[in-house]
Amino acid sequence: MKYVDEYRDGATTRRLADAVRRVLTQPRTIMEICGGQTHSIVKFGIDTLLPPELTLVHGPGCPVCVTPVELVDKAIALARRPEVVFCSFGDMLRVPGTETDLLGVKARGGDVRIVYSPLDAVKLAHKHPDREVVFFAIGFETTAPANALAVLQAQRDGLRNFSILASHVLVPPAIEAILSSEACRVQGFLAAGHVCTIMGFTQYEPIAARYGVPIVVTGFEPVDILHGILLCVRQLESGRATVENAYARSVRREGNPQALRVIETVFEPDTQKWRGLGVIPNSGLRLRDAYRTFDAEARFDLAGIVAEESPECIAGLVLQGIKKPHECPAFASRCTPERPLGAPMVSSEGACAAYYRYRRSETEAAS
């Protein structure tokens, strides 16, 4: 497959892994931010090619994982309403709320539909003028432009039965939160290539300078990831801490101006609660007042819904890279993808699910 196979080439990956081995002189810890990268790493076995002195820890970049339980409960409450057609990307359907998940609501007659784009939900709103169509708009900066476009489209079309339940999260504040933690052992970051495709990487430059950590914008295929790791290790070994772009075929420093404009038009920064990490100032996006009519939380009464995370689930520590998934006592025993206790076990991009699916023999051997 063109543009994919060359980035999964065995010889090139081995060459890059050898280069990392030659450059590395002491133990180092690097965090890959994005869940897509985590999955590539375990799926292809990239970490097994690396020297043992290099530890990869898995960051909070899985939108499913960091969406607060409370919001899942709100989604469930909405999906149960008879007038609502609740639209979501597929992997949110199995995320456990306090009592059930969206699949469970669907099984009991809730109108829950998987869509592939928020614009599909706008189409549904046209098709069902007598129903309320709600789109579960979650995600990082990558999904924000499409969600913003859907709101603009709904406004242009004069739709009165379309709204979004939004939980947008932003990467740079999360990196800062991780770096500010006393338990932080991350020395360098692989920034999420697709987030930077939208946003560019100027926001990361002050973080690299302030905390003295290298940040390398990195793609998702094995060659991309190893290239990012190599650049990051080189910076660490030479005592530099700058932002480098190892995903130049997709990312420009200034990002995608058109997408940025759309986000800016529809959303504004807001304090955001992250599952596992807690409340981080300015780490989310909310609809601007001009678009409040498309906010499901304003349209429906959801204020009474509050939820606590299971105190035993160590998702927060996993998402900050302080613990590995199999260091949780519930891992692969009381917590599995069928019976998840926390979100990282649910999403196909969650670190716990990745370890469960690809690494169980190793983790069993270690326990």
Binding site: M1, V4, R8, D9, G10, T13, R14, F44, G45, T48, L49, P63, V64, F89, G90, D91, L93, R94, P96, E99, T100, D101, L103, G104, K106, A107, I114, Y116, G139, F140, T142, T143, H194, P222, S310, E312, C313, K324, E327, C328, P329, A330, R334, C335, E338, R339, P340, L341, S347, S348, E349, R357, Y358, R359, R360, S361, E362, T363, A366, S367
Partner: protein, 351 residues
Amino acid sequence: MSTPGEFTLSCPMPHASSPVITMAHGGGGTAMHRLIEDVFLRAFDNPLLAQRHDAARIAIDGARIAFTTDSYVVQPLEFPGGDIASLAVHGTVNDLAMAGARPLYLSAGFILEEGLSIELLLRLVASMRRAADACGVQVVTGDTKVIERRGGDGLFINTAGIGVIEHDCVIGPGAVRPGDVVLINGDLGRHGIAIMATREGLEFETAIESDSAPVADAVLALLRGGVEVHCLRDLTRGGLVSAANEIAQAAGVGLHLRETDIPVRDDVRGACELLGFDPLYVANEGRFMAVVAADDAARALDVLRGHPQAPQPAIIGHAHADAPGRVTLESRIGAQRILDMLSGEQLPRIC
């Protein structure tokens, strides 16, 4: 990899063990297997059922018969490369073939929803007849029911099938030995992606057609060619990985597969990348996996090459004694990982 420390925490029992049936129970993964084990196998427990094969093998007065049934609920009723009616023939014929039987007779039960177009029904029944003729089977008994209009699904079909076993190979997980070789008869993932693309209105540059087809002739050709076939499994729901896991667990052997040897067409891989699916878990309707004696692997490949029911035969791995019950994959870049059964359905991801 760091070593886990001492933990005394205990997590509460999760609620996800659902008190009602959810779509995950039909996805071909662990939820479905648990349902089968906890509900159906327990209720109907008997030695024939306990074989847990695609078809039951029964001896009646010296005649060895294979007997199977399957229900078809696919939406849309017509899709690129096939329709529900031809699928209802292929699927059941293939289940018989997986017992090494020559398919002979089918039953057909039609559940029709109020409002179904008669024209569509005629088209589907004609397609079913053509598929049966092509497979050399006859539909010899049937049933029709009409249900009130509900989701607009239109039509469900159940077929049962009988075939005759005419060889002495013992085919089943119990016959699999370390060292055996794993073959498949063609590229993976086309049926699932074709259905998904049609159902969800996804458009790709080229239309991906289902691989729905009978495979009984290809299987019989292996047996007639003197290949020592140890186990057969069609790669339907849950795809290659579910079938491989079922065999590994039932046989008590490990199976090791090589990603680069598993044929997947570029358009299917592209669609999977886009949806966040793994083609090794996607359903096929004209593909099977054969575990054969190592000495016969080359001959098996020869027999399948050029057979119209084996569009792209390939040796994709082998059985071993190292990790009983486990399926592993050598990834494209040469590292190893587990190929685990899915929990439920594959769900399209966010980004």
